[in-house]
């Protein structure tokens, strides 16, 4: 396993790196990390120490075999993840974020495009192991052709972790009859004094939305494209301008 100390903003290319990476953000830091070629690793771990904030952006565009992503978040610390999944063929991602101390926070955003015969299984879980911890998961996907796209994961609030909040959102827009799309956000709550919600939506582009946009002169195809881009484009704000425009042209090209 390779260990990397993050003391300042970092762009890390996982190509030709170890199979297993561990990043540590020491106390009282605010840093952003951009991970490239994440497809090349199997295990990635982040330690976000007390009073630190980590902005993490990840862009995948090749085959992702099996990635185990873990993060441990300390007191008054935050991890904010933007994951742009434009991998091909396969992506089996398993992410677990542990909120271990008081006022630890995680914000997870993922946008995924699956097409052709892609098989994408994305599980994102947040474990609340301390009182007053806050988690939010937003997974948005577009499923085309004969592909499979599964969003799952657990928001688990342990007993005694009062005043914690946990929210999960899993939304997939489905294009073709051959698609297999599943959204199953799970809540496991062992404490009463908390706030939690989960939402799952899988479906075709809404007829009402199409009517609304076409009634302003857009063709059905233009309307569908605009609505679909609305699922994927919000992820761009997690990336620097150069990468964002690279992802943007990738989206437009694939749709």
């Amino acid at each position: 396993m390779k260990k990397i100390d993050v003391v300042t903003d970092l762009q890390y290319d996982c190509l030709d790196s170890s199979d297993s990476l561990s990043f540590e953000v020491t106390q009282n830091k605010q840093v952003s990390v951009y991970l490239k070629n994440i497809e090349e690793v199997e295990k990635i771990n982040f330690e976000v120490k007390d009073n630190s904030t980590l902005f993490l952006s990840i862009f995948a565009q090749k085959i992702v075999k099996n990635i185990n992503f873990t993060a441990n978040v300390g007191e008054n610390a935050r991890i904010i993840v933007y994951f742009a999944d434009f991998s091909v063929e396969r992506n089996h991602l398993n992410a677990s974020i542990n909120l271990n101390k008081d006022n630890a926070e995680c914000e997870w955003h993922l946008a995924s495009l699956s097409s052709q015969k892609d098989d994408k299984q994305i599980a994102v879980s947040i474990y609340h192991n301390s009182p007053n911890t806050h988690g939010r998961i937003d997974n948005y996907g577009v499923c085309k052709d004969n592909s499979t796209l599964v969003f799952s994961g657990i928001s688990h609030i342990e007993k005694g972790c009062h005043q914690s909040t946990s929210h999960q959102n899993a939304k997939i827009v489905v294009f073709d009859d051959g698609c297999k799309a599943i959204a199953k956000p799970i809540l496991k709550i062992d404490e009463n004094d908390i706030e939690a919600s989960h939402a799952a939506v899988v479906g075709k582009v809404s007829d009402e939305h199409i009517f609304y946009l076409t009634s302003r002169g857009l063709s059905i195809d233009e309307a569908k494209l605009l609505i679909t881009l609305g699922y994927l484009k919000p992820i761009l704000k997690g990336f620097n301008e150069e990468t964002a425009s690279e992802i943007d042209s990738l989206i437009e090209g694939r749709l």
Binding site: Y140, S206, D207, E208, H209, F211, Y212, L213, T214, S215, R216, G217, L218, S219, I220, E222, L226, I227, L229, G230, Y231, L232, K233, P234
Partner: protein, 272 residues
Amino acid sequence: MATLKIKDLHVEVEGKEILKGVTTNISEGETVALLGPNGHGKSTLLNVIMGHPRYKITSGSIYLDDLDITEMTTDERAKAGLFLALQNPAEVPGVINSDFLRAAVNATRDEKISTYKFYKMLDNATKELKMPFDLATRSLNEGFSGGEKKRNEILQLLLLEPKIAMLDEIDSGLDVDAIQIVADVIKKEEEKGRGFLVISHYARLFDLIKPTRAIVMINGRIVLDGDTSLIKRIDQTGYEFIKTELGIEIEKEQADMNTVSIGTCAVKETIK
């Protein structure tokens, strides 16, 4: 001067006939008040004119001048110069309002508008409606208040410059000041010669926008077509006189309560 001509229009939804032979004309330069009790087909008529796929035209025709639009797609109707401000505009997450508006403006014009010109137009229109400009940069209607959604509809009208604009309860959800602002904008658009077909349950809006004609829809038909004294009469006495004077029995609205179950959004269910 363009005229929308509706002739003996019969319309079904899920096998049930809603419009039972509607005939009327609306021309540019006219503002027509469309009145009638709830559930008698007013919104249906507007949606059918705009080509909503849920409604099936079984007979009759809709023309815009010599152009038969009965079978046209919704976007073709918009390009021909029709516009519908929806009663409950959809929230479309992720679609940025200004991106959408620009795509719409470009779709209805022969030549693409420059970025500078578009933002100039947008800036003017938002000012006219006293809307904060940041609404234009947010997701389309997402998290907008009822009043903001309605203003956003009028904003679209200003940018798209249709020949005939249809407004479905544009005043619902607006406070007194906002009604005044929206009415002022409509009034200006009337003066430019745009045609309006307006549904409202309140005389207040009509007092402000001064319709030129009023039509009354009962049981899926237009039973009265007259001057604007009709608005005042209905506002004061209701629809009872239609029964006593015209001998038309007003069908009760059928509340289909069973399709709404606990846990679903009742508003959304009923507008489907």
